[in-house]
């Protein structure tokens, strides 16, 4: 159905893209992702390698990568919309999260232009035959990393621990950020899962449990020089990944919000209290209105970032508009969870119902993706500085 000015539930994506996602990926989602979602959640079982390979065969693990290396050659803006539609169609939040994550890692490795990395990692990643993990977090700020790398002849030795790595249980190679023992700078290295001294253990969260969250420990891991990815200022390099995530997460999260909202309203319209559907009660109507406003404003924010990405206006390391989008959409999603729990009552808490897992998934997005408070501080500092600069410039002009 095409959007009309009267529609309240306006789509984020053009109908052609929505149809493409259904045509190309609908069967995978309907037959391989949705049927096992509850069981994977209960047992914290990660997606199988076979499933990711199938996603790769369909083009989902190399969507924005060039055709000459097996990718789909599509735009980043289109990828954001695909993630949104997958977020809406699939019943496992971890799936679009994992796809977004893998896509960014593959793109970063491709952008190095190194032939050895293309052959060993990028091409298999595009096919879904090799999965990358992003080893940034360890409970300390990036200037205080405890994971240490030191020179050893022509190579390096790595010691430390990363926790969590979002897909650590299934990743084949880890992009690890470590502090140089020689000069204290942050370096980035690639560590294979089967390198001697690498230990991977499950570290399940309360939600997105099929992602394969893990603690990854590195004990005296010897790496040759070919594994060195960034020799200096790895902190800035890591921002490339995190900045991209601030664009992609709101896209797929908005899809999950649509599911929660529509499912919730449908249920409320069928439940009877005092001979009337719950949707006839004014307090429930107000709650639905609040959820709708949150979802619709989130859609507007995401639509704005899609346009920004389409015009290639984003900053590579830390884009304020993407930070605002991530902050706002996650905040609205969390508010929607709370409101849904209020109006659904007991229905929202039982495992057999569709809500509890989705709500747990959404509640996970704050710690897993970096705290919203950090984004608040960064945005506050930047906008204050911008106003101060404007006042300074105005005063200078007036002095002249």
């Amino acid at each position: 159905m095409e959007a009309s000015p009267q529609m309240l539930l306006r789509p984020l994506c053009p109908a052609s893209l929505t149809a493409e996602v259904k045509d190309r990926f609908g069967e995978l989602i309907a037959t391989c992702i949705n049927p096992g979602a509850g069981e994977r959640d209960r047992t914290a079982t990660p997606f199988s390698c076979e499933l990711v390979r199938e996603a790769g065969r369909l083009g989902l693990t190399g969507f924005t990568l060039p055709r000459e290396i097996g990718g789909q050659g599509r735009s980043w803006r289109e990828w954001g919309m695909v993630l949104h539609e997958i977020g809406y169609l699939c019943e496992d939040t971890a799936f679009p999260m994992l796809l977004a994550y893998l896509g960014t890692l593959t793109k970063l490795l491709h952008q190095t232009g190194r032939r050895d990395l293309a052959d060993r990692y990028v091409v298999p990643m595009v096919r879904g035959e090799c999965l990358g993990g992003f080893g940034w977090s360890e409970g300390h700020d990036p200037f205080s990393l405890q994971t240490v790398i030191r020179r050893d002849g022509d190579g390096y030795i790595l010691d430390g621990e990363k926790v969590p790595i979002a897909d650590g249980l299934i990743a084949d190679v880890f992009m690890i950020f470590a502090r140089s023992a020689e000069n204290g700078d942050v370096m980035v290295v690639l560590v294979d899962r089967d390198d001697r001294g690498v230990e991977v253990t499950p570290y399940p969260a309360m939600g997105v449990r099929a992602a394969g969250m893990a603690r990854v420990r590195f004990s005296d891991v010897h790496l040759n020089d070919s594994r060195m990815l960034v020799r200096s200022d790895g902190i800035s390099y890591g921002q490339r990944f995190l900045n991209e995530r601030r664009f992609e997460m709101p896209c797929w999260l908005l899809g999950r919000m649509r599911v929660l909202f529509e499912t919730c309203v449908d249920e409320l319209s069928r439940r009877i209290r005092f001979r009337l559907p719950l949707t006839e009660m004014q307090t429930v109507q107000a709650a639905i209105g609040r959820m709708y406003v949150g979802m619709e404003t989130a859609r507007l924010v995401v639509a704005d970032t899609l346009e920004r990405i389409g015009r290639d206006e984003q900053e590579v390391l830390w884009d304020p508009a993407l930070a605002v989008s991530k902050y706002y959409v996650v905040g609205q999603a969390l508010d929607m969870c709370r409101t849904a729990q209020h109006v659904l009552g007991g229905a929202a808490v039982f495992e057999a119902r569709p809500y509890s897992r989705l709500i747990r998934d959404i509640q996970c997005l704050v710690p897993i993706a970096g705290t919203l408070a950090t984004l608040e501080v960064d945005l506050g500092v930047l906008v204050t500085a911008e106003i101060e600069r404007a006042v300074y410039a105005r005063n200078k002009r007036e002095e002249r």
Partner: protein
Amino acid sequence: MKFKLAGNLLRFSNFQKEIEIAAMTVDTAVQSLVERCPDLGPVLLDGEGRVRQVHRLFLNGEILPLHELGHQVGSQDEVAIITAIAGG
């Protein structure tokens, strides 16, 4: 010239928000700044002594690209350093 620091950087400058430095160019001023505030060194500069890309420098309110740090400065100039780093 005067450096203006904000946000997370203040922890590394002993919470000094403004620091006066005598220098001819921005990059020599940055070197003097990290000598004055040694804790700022590893935060502001990478292992090769270059300003990290996550920092934004503004000279008298105008963005100063990191490849233009050889820009000359005088006693009345202000350089603001802003840093934005967060999880994804």
